[in-house]
Amino acid sequence: MPEQIIKAVNVSKIFNKGRRNETVALQDISLEIARNSAVLLRGPSGSGKTTLLTLLSALTKPTSGTIICLEQDISHWQEKFLTGFRRRHLGIIFQNFNLIKTLSVFDNIAVPLIPLPLSAAEIREKVHEISALVQIDHRLQYKAATLSGGEQQRVAIARALIQDPEILIADEPTAHLDSRLSSEILTIFSDLKQRGKTILIATHDPVLNGHPLIDAVFCIKDGRLEPDHVC
């Protein structure tokens, strides 16, 4: 029985609670993710995939319920601790990338390394290594704003991977890539999994259907977990 790395118990998330625009984004979600597995999160647009990822990756707190990540109950931590936790353990690829538009690709990828006691040479080496891996090394000096969607996506992936996180959380990581690049990214993911990482992907990209990388699929609809075949 593989060990659980992430566990959610009866998690709900309600936006704007008690106001007129109250939105129940997630309702009573319980799930477990095994260490060193690759898990797919499926569901139609607006079903709550991104919301669930932000909860599991300590970006927001649940309205109710408990989230255990790496054996720690992170559901009600103050921001300072969540930030440190994310920085140490998680690599996050956002659906909308969240790149810093005015910085170069190099700087964008190097951002997570800033708090670490690394020399400029070490940082350069790491950035070059990781950008070669996702094939964006020919654009390192470009401003992030001038890149195509697919290129931005690869920068976002590089940034998430640069700290060698234990858990990789990817929100639609292949949405802007052509099928050749998509399968290359999936090769990278497979490689990471072989190196012991846990990978959590939200997507509706059919490329991932039945992909050998995936160990488990969670299907989410209207904020609730449903049996696999619904998606």
Binding site: K61, S64, E79
Partner: protein, 326 residues
């Protein structure tokens, strides 16, 4: 009086302190009213960030408050004696009216209040769930009140200084009980018991500190209060003589002068370290009951600071005495 450059500088320091406090205050009120740690709304997130911001503000406020205290001391000790006839040091200048000593004591109290807030804040921030927020913000209100009172008393003090007044000072033989901690006559009478308490508690407290557990800390607070009182008498009517090398100069303030190698800063600095140690240990004990995980390392460190402070304090005073005897 208020056109004096030193006094203007002092009020600039008040400006800095007051500015920081008044900046922190609305945030504190908002946090007390709206804090809901279980929610993760935009508003709550903002409050959590404000929480960090306020502690940064108060760190600076503490810095300015300490400068303010030292500057006030220097002002009363070095600058004002040139303006007030008969005064030679702060004992004379602070005693010219009823507000001088109060102004000094309030400034000392203010430093300890900021220290309390920052220490509780430190404990609060060391736990993932910020267990002492928003309660810790009540101390911010206390700080603001004390700040206001301090400013008020200090203004009254300066306003009450008449240039033609003749102040009494330490070595003068007549009684200064309106100004000093205790009058000269009673002091000599109480010197013997005070010395006994000074040495008795000076030995007992480090011993208690080593075996500190449970509620002994509250006993320690009580004993510390007695110790400080006895310490002041012993210092004023016994030890300072050996610092000055004069038998009748019972002054607590000249020891801050450069002539005496700023010994006063060392003597009161070590005492302050001891008191801060006891204060922090007490606060730790008070909040630990409900909210905090045990912090044995921190506790040990604080015990060390307090003990080293106290022993240093005792040592410095006795070395002066010993030096004179030998």
């Amino acid at each position: 009086m208020f056109a004096d450059l030193w006094i203007i500088s002092l009020f600039i320091l008040y400006g800095a302190c007051g500015f920081l406090l008044l900046w922190a205050l609305p945030a504190g009120i908002k946090i007390i009213r709206n804090w809901d740690f279980t929610s993760s709304t935009e508003g709550q997130l903002l409050l959590e960030r404000k929480n960090y911001f306020v502690s940064a503000l108060l760190q600076y406020a503490l810095f300015f408050q300490i400068i303010l205290l030292l500057f006030f001391l220097q002002l009363a000790n070095v600058h004002l004696p040139g303006l007030i006839k008969g005064a030679m040091c702060a004992a004379g200048t602070l005693g010219v009216n009823a507000y001088g000593y109060t102004a000094l004591y309030v400034k000392i109290a203010a430093v300890f209040i900021y220290l309390s807030f920052l220490f509780i804040n430190y404990l609060d921030q060391s736990e993932t769930n910020a267990p002492l927020t928003p309660q810790k913000y009540y101390l911010l209100f206390v700080a603001v009140l004390v700040f206001g009172f301090d400013l008020y008393v200090t203004v009254l003090y300066f306003a009450g200084i008449k240039p033609d007044i003749i102040a009494a000072c330490c070595s003068v033989n007549f009684d200064i009980n309106s100004a000093g901690i205790i009058s000269a006559q009673t002091a000599t009478q109480y010197l013997k018991p005070a010395m006994a308490i000074f040495y008795g508690l000076g030995l007992l407290i480090p011993f208690l500190m080593i075996r500190l557990r449970g509620r002994i800390i509250y006993l320690l607070v009580f004993l510390s209060a007695i110790f400080v009182y006895a310490d002041m008498i012993a210092l004023k009517y016994h030890f300072v003589k050996f610092i000055y090398g004069m038998p009748s100069h019972n002054c607590l303030f000249d020891i801050f002068w450069s002539e005496y190698y700023f010994a006063g800063y060392l003597i009161f600095g070590t005492l302050a370290a001891y008191l801060a140690g006891v204060l922090f240990l007490t606060l730790l004990k008070m909040v630990q009951v409900k909210h905090l995980a045990k912090k044995p390392f921190l506790e040990r460190k604080l015990k060390w600071i307090a003990t080293v402070g106290l022993i240093g304090h005792l040592l410095i005073l006795n070395l002066y005495w010993l030096y004179w005897i030998i």
